[in-house]
């Protein structure tokens, strides 16, 4: 079933072959080279950025782990022989690493962890996975294989062969491991200075052996128990440290291991950052920044976030989706060549060809822009390429500035909305971002209500928020927000003044004094009504006035800067909006596609004969559709004879014109053959299976589609 094809003349594929694909793929030849280069460099930037983020996020966790590891075997280090220490030695130091359910991201964490450990603590790190260790024997084998390989790496490679051979032969047992460890550490002791200055200087005399169980939950209980019991016997000879990677909750340790075993462990708990925070950071650093020219549209972002939230919680997948967006965008949008950093825009705009200029003119947002210009300029824009280029450059710069401002104001708004009760605009900034991208946020109900809630904030909150906003706006480089900052500062001083004033006024008598005496419900109600009347006419306090002013000012900022991106001219160049494509590639529904093809072949085969209204199907449909449709009418078992007959009835009716003369054996055989084919296709697709329950029956496997 396998066939290998080798090219007859061995052509070496070059590294720029990918660029070649890109070129072939896009139908217009222009600028593809440049586009591909831009795409690649952008992706590389983003990739390194995400790796950086990942590293920073894990730093805390790794630091804690490293300090734990260095602590864990300090006694061993000092070679104390006291009895109490001996007792303690029976306990294996264990780190329980709670990593969350996003199993796919764990690999990266573990890789980082083992790198850090090998750099700082010990060269002896073994990573074990449940699927490699169905029994204790395999586990030991795997463990020793990895440890001894470390040994080779640290040592010179001269005796690789002999170790390689012996690795397969040695009996995998704890004593072997210990003797190996002894020999290794002794060797290190004796020949440290000359040979491995760099590596061993970082490690101690007898570095601990770290065994990482990547997915602790999936290990067989017995294997784990045996390993722990055995190694606890030898813990005073072999400084072992275990690290459990846990996806669910730390309780699992006690559920998997009985008390007698878990008491041999000295467990310390470590918690990694939750994947949601991780995602927030990624979004913050990748999307809400002007560092990268490429942007995601609202729908696309929503698709990515939904895949994350409802399917896998995997940040890696989110980044993968992001990569796909970049590739798609640069691949499908010829003008994406302009999706570059601000410094390059001028050069690239002026090197645009005439066709590309036409492409610009075809952009809906640009046409919309042209329509709003006066007629003279309109003609210029549509006919004069160089004028168009000037204008394009200006517009692109505008877009850039817009985005920068957008992010600032978005953050300011988020400061407000994230502290409102019940978060009408969402708690996370990504929700707010989506809301703002989707449509004019100030026209939404949620925005309205959050403004009203903001008008009820107390002073201390308001002041801290204003201060945060000032900080955010101050951090921007441009002069755009100087006025806004000034204004906000002015508000702050006014609040300050208000405070002083109110302290003076503090002694004023409250009008409710007279109500202190007991009343009944009726009177209370009456007084309240009166009070309400008076309130309505009463003037707002100074603080309230100021608060309104602040909120109104924020509102004005929002209206000015948080215009949805698709109202901006030339937004198509930097915003990727093909959510349907993205979703089709990442979150496909194969069964739905099959369902559509079988129930409504007209969706795919644009033949008028196949068109059918309602839930029905034409009898001219492909055989498999008819057979499928017929089988839907059956129960658990299907009689093949009935099925065949029904099928031939339909097919004969469809072939009506020449059916009169026919009725020969030949036709019948063909129909029979077609039926067989269709049924076996249905079997391949998994709708039916042969059944032994009754002769010439098949069993149905699905219930959908009826």
């Amino acid at each position: 079933g396998c066939f290998v094809f080798k090219p007859s003349t061995k052509k070496r594929r070059l590294s720029d072959e990918t660029a070649h694909d890109f070129r072939c793929a896009s139908n217009d030849s222009e600028d593809t080279e440049l586009r591909f280069v831009t795409c690649q460099s952008l992706w590389n930037q983003i990739k390194s950025e995400t790796e950086q983020i990942q590293e920073n996020l894990n730093k805390q966790l790794l630091d804690n782990l490293v300090s734990f590891l260095s602590r864990s075997h300090s006694d061993f280090q000092e070679k104390t022989t006291e009895w109490t220490c001996r007792m303690k030695f029976r306990e294996i130091p264990t780190a329980a690493l709670v990593l969350g359910v996003n199993v796919t991201d764990h690999d990266l964490t573990f890789r980082g962890l083992s790198d850090v450990l090998q750099d700082n603590i010990t060269p002896y790190v073994a990573l074990l996975e449940a699927k490699d260790c169905p029994g204790i024997k395999n586990l030991m084998q795997k463990l020793m294989g990895q440890l001894m390989k470390c040994d080779i790496d640290v040592d010179s490679l001269e005796d690789e062969d002999c170790v390689q051979v012996s690795q397969n032969r040695i009996r995998c047992s704890m004593p072997t491991l210990i003797s190996w460890y002894d020999s290794v550490t002794k060797k290190t002791d004796s020949e440290t200075p000359s040979k491995k200055r760099n590596s061993s200087s970082r490690h101690w005399q007898s570095p601990p052996v770290v065994v990482i169980f990547k997915d602790m939950e999936s290990f067989t209980t017995k294997v784990l128990q045996d390993f722990i019991v055995i190694s606890s016997q030898h813990i005073h000879e072999l400084p072992l440290v275990l690290i459990f990677g846990i996806a669910t909750s730390p309780m699992i340790i006690h559920r998997v291991l009985p008390h007698s075993v878990s008491s041999l462990l000295c467990i310390e708990l470590f918690q990694s950052l939750s994947c949601k925070e991780h995602l927030s950071t990624i979004i913050d650093k990748l999307l809400l920044t002007s560092r990268f020219p490429f942007k995601l549209g609202e729908k696309v972002l929503q698709v990515l976030i939904n895949i994350f939230l409802y399917h896998d919680f995997s940040v890696q997948n989110f980044i993968k989706g992001f990569q796909l967006c970049i590739v798609e965008h640069f691949y499908s949008q010829p003008l994406s060549v302009l999706c570059c950093h601000l410094v390059d825009i001028k050069k690239r705009v002026y090197s645009l060809s005439h066709d590309q200029c036409e492409n610009v003119r075809r952009l809906p947002s640009f046409r919309w822009y042209v329509e709003k210009q006066e007629s003279g300029k309109q003609i210029e824009l549509l006919t004069n390429d160089s004028f168009l280029k000037e204008e394009t450059e200006k517009l692109l710069e505008d877009l850039h500035v817009y985005h920068e401002n957008y992010v600032r104001i978005l953050r300011c708004l988020h400061v407000f909305t994230s502290s409102l009760p019940k978060y009408p605009l969402g708690k996370q900034i990504r929700e707010l971002h989506c809301a703002c991208l989707e449509n004019r946020v100030w026209e939404t109900e949620e925005y309205e209500s959050s403004l009203q809630l903001a008008r009820m904030l107390n002073k201390t909150d308001l002041v801290t928020m204003l201060q945060q906003c000032v900080e955010i706006l101050m951090s921007s480089s441009g002069k755009e927000f100087d006025r806004a900052v000034e204004k906000l500062k002015e508000f702050l001083t006014q609040f300050q003044n208000l405070e002083e004033a109110s302290q003076e006024r503090d002694v004023s008598i409250s009008p409710q004094k007279e109500l202190q005496k007991k009343t009944d419900l009726y009177h209370l109600q009456k007084t309240l009504l009166e009070l309400k009347e008076s309130r309505r006419s009463k003037k707002l306090t100074k603080f309230e006035m100021l608060r309104f002013e602040v909120v109104d000012y924020i509102d004005s900022l929002v209206r000015r800067y948080l215009v949805p991106a698709d109202e901006r001219t030339l937004h198509e160049i930097v915003y990727f909006n093909a959510a349907a494509v993205l979703r089709g590639h990442l979150n496909a529904a194969p069964r739905t596609a099959l369902h559509t093809a079988l129930n409504n072949p007209h969706w795919y085969l644009k033949n008028p004969a196949l068109r059918c209204d309602g839930g029905g199907i034409s009898n001219k449909a492909p055989d498999i559709c008819i057979v499928y449709k017929l089988h839907l009418e059956c129960g658990r078992l299907i009689n093949l004879v009935d099925w065949l007959e029904a099928f031939s009835t339909v097919v004969m009716a469809a072939e009506e014109p020449n059916a009169d003369a026919a009725s020969s054996d030949q036709v019948d055989d063909v129909i029979h053959a077609r039926f067989i084919r269709a049924v076996s296709e249905l079997e391949l697709l998994g709708f039916i299976k042969p059944s032994k329950q009754k002769t010439d029956h098949v069993a149905r496997l699905t219930w959908g589609g009826c």
């Binding site: 079933g1 396998c2 290998v4 080798k6 090219p7 052509k11 070496r12 072959e17 990918t18 694909d21 793929a25 949601k276 995997s314 708690k427 109900e445 009820m456 005496k517 009343t519 309400k532 309130r535 306090t541 979703r583 089709g584 590639h585 596609a593 369902h595 559509t596 795919y604 085969l605 644009k606 059918c612 839930g615 029905g616 009898n619 001219k620 492909p622 839907l632 009418e633 658990r636 078992l637 004879v641 009935d642 099925w643 029904a646 031939s648 009835t649 004969m652 009169d660 055989d669 029979h672 053959a673 084919r677 076996s680 079997e683 391949l684 709708f687 009754k694 002769t695 959908g704 009826c706």
Partner: protein
């Protein structure tokens, strides 16, 4: 004014304590200025976000709740996607409950479908009355008539004369012995032939009214009925569910292919017949395929960027991948795996990589070792590149957990590019998150409507029609290598089995009886020699032994009767 306050208070805490009036008043008057606004705000946070609000109060991670509306809104977008699947179909349509079915519904639907072209070809409104008239005519032949009999009693009389007899004749023509229509026309059979009547008695016509449980997909001609039934159906959904699951008894007719007076088709004739039969909608299918072919270079690009590609959708994707291979992969090393091949294993895939691609001669202890070796080699030599095309990644042999794990790990290597196709409806269930992330799939819908010629040609589990020739030839083959006596023994058993073929509860021939018969035919001289022969048969899977309730051993040839007959005929020819 005070009511909402109270409500809100009670939601926050369930504590009840006495509050003096003045405190209440003070509390209210303190923020009464903002009260109006606040309440308005509360109201304007509309009901649609109600769920979200509740979650927000109780849980910090509230935005993660499944707010289905947003989800559907965001994921349900499939606008202007030319080859997109009908993702506008809701899950409920694709995955639904079992509903009770009547045995005659299939035939009914068939008859309905048989009528549809007239409607399609002439959707002319002027013809409406005629069409109306036609409906009862055609369905007259079917049981449905009974439902309408009261309604159309008077009309029927006039239509009987105009019934297109020719049509019925034609429908009856292919095989008068097995006319499904006949059984359903029993209720109005004044014109039926005698022999057809006879046939009716052999069938189990389920004479309940089909209309009662008619699905919503009832074709147009019976719209009014469908509507009525739909309402009824909604109400009966629960009852239907339990009805469908109440009895394990299946109501299907007892007819078998045996009774079909048809020549059995073997693989070869089937193939020939299908080859001669014109492929319907060839032009449209070609268009469809051309659309997919335009994506080839994009696939290449995405493969090189680290994604792997999986194709799904109705129709064989073999030709498409083959075309991809011939057009783009000629200059590179590539491996084609026919997953539908019944004896394919992961091991053979790995072997062909190590032996043929990497030129390694040597064996490995386990696939994992082999995988490790491959990984190492590919990491060492960055110029090494391999394209792997797998037809039917979801085939019987490859769908196992371990195979998928190995393939996933293989595909995660940066210089191995995997492009695969899946067909089974449950194929995505093979992969958990870990495997999915290793595979790093990009899904492409490539509905081709091509017949699965190659893929199904290996399935001998399929309909009984084709199994015959294969079983027969193997039977002949094995027996020819045996001694004359052994053949005689087998013959005896076969003959005995054929004699008893009408007895459905025939347990097989008991060993003692068989021994007796063999002795009489001078085929064996002791039961030991017979046992030795039987062991030989059993090893070749020619017979099956079963121990009955009384402890007696019964022998049975696990081949269907027709094959056995054929076999005996052939044997006679030979002798």
């Amino acid at each position: 004014m005070s009511r909402p306050e109270g409500m809100r208070g009670s939601r926050r805490s369930l504590q009840v304590k006495f509050v003096p009036d003045e405190d209440v008043l003070k509390h209210i008057s303190d923020d009464a200025g903002t009260k109006v606004r606040k309440d308005k705000a509360q109201l304007s946070v509309s009901v649609k976000r109600f769920v979200k609000k509740l979650e927000n109060i109780s849980d910090n991670e509230a935005q993660e709740i499944l707010e289905e509306k947003n989800y559907v809104a965001a994921l349900g977008i499939c606008a202007q996607d030319p080859v997109g699947n009908g993702s506008n179909i809701s899950g409920g349509e694709v995955y639904s409950f079992q509903t009770p079915k009547r045995s005659n519904k299939m035939a009914e639907l068939a008859s309905e479908l048989a009528q549809t072209p007239e409607k399609n070809v002439a959707p002319d409104h002027s013809k409406c009355p005629e069409k109306m008239a036609k409906t009862p005519q055609n369905s007259k032949m079917f049981l449905l008539m009974r439902v309408f009999s009261l309604l159309f009693q008077s009309k029927k009389k006039e239509f009987v004369s105009t019934t297109p007899y020719r049509l019925r004749k034609r429908l009856a023509a292919p095989d008068p012995y097995l006319e499904s229509e006949s059984e359903y026309s029993a209720s109005c059979s004044e014109e039926e032939d005698e022999d057809e009547q006879k046939e009716v008695s052999t069938v189990l016509p389920d004479q309940k009214t089909p209309a009662k449980t008619k699905a919503a997909s009832t074709p147009p001609p019976r719209n009014s009925l469908a509507k009525k039934n739909k309402e009824q159906k909604m109400g009966n959904l629960v009852e239907e569910y339990f009805e469908a699951h109440s009895s394990s008894k299946v109501l299907t007719s007892d007819r078998t292919l045996q009774k079909l007076r048809k020549r059995r088709l073997d693989q070869q004739t089937l193939h020939d017949l299908l080859k001669n039969a014109p492929l319907a909608y060839a032009a449209e299918i070609r268009d469809l395929n051309q659309q997919h072919e335009s994506l080839f270079s994009k696939w290449m690009l995405q493969l090189h960027l680290g994604f792997n590609i999986v194709l799904y959708g109705l129709g064989s994707k073999r030709d498409l991948l083959e075309k991809f291979r011939t057009s783009l992969l000629q200059d590179s090393v590539h491996l084609v795996v026919n997953g539908y091949f019944p004896s394919i294993t992961v091991r053979s895939i790995l072997n062909s990589i190590t032996e043929e691609v990497l030129g390694h001669t040597g064996t490995f202890r386990s696939p994992l070792d082999q995988l490790e070796f491959i990984t190492k080699r590919f990491k060492e030599d960055s110029s090494l590149e391999l394209y792997v095309l797998i037809h039917n990644l979801d085939s019987q042999m490859l769908r196992g957990e371990r195979s998928q794990q190995i393939l996933a790990q293989l595909s995660s290597l940066p210089s191995i590019y995997l492009i695969a196709s899946i067909d089974h409806i449950n194929a995505p269930l093979m992969w958990d998150q870990a495997k999915l992330s290793l595979y790093n799939w990009l899904w492409y819908e490539t509905t081709t409507f091509n017949p699965y010629v190659e893929e199904t040609s290996y399935e001998n589990s399929l309909l009984v029609q084709q199994s015959g020739s294969l079983a027969l030839s193997s039977l002949m083959h094995v027996l020819h290598s045996l001694t004359l006596n052994a053949r005689g023994i087998f013959r005896l058993l076969a003959q005995h089995q054929l004699e008893k073929k009408d007895n459905p509860s025939y347990p097989g021939l008991s060993f003692q009886d068989f021994y007796q018969q063999c002795r009489e035919a001078f085929l064996v001289n002791s039961d030991l020699t017979l046992r030795a022969q039987l062991t030989e048969f059993r090893d070749h899977k020619l017979i099956r032994t079963k121990r009955g309730a009384d402890g007696v051993e019964y022998l049975l040839i696990p081949v269907d009767d027709s094959t056995l007959t054929d076999f005996l005929e052939k044997e006679d020819e030979d002798v």
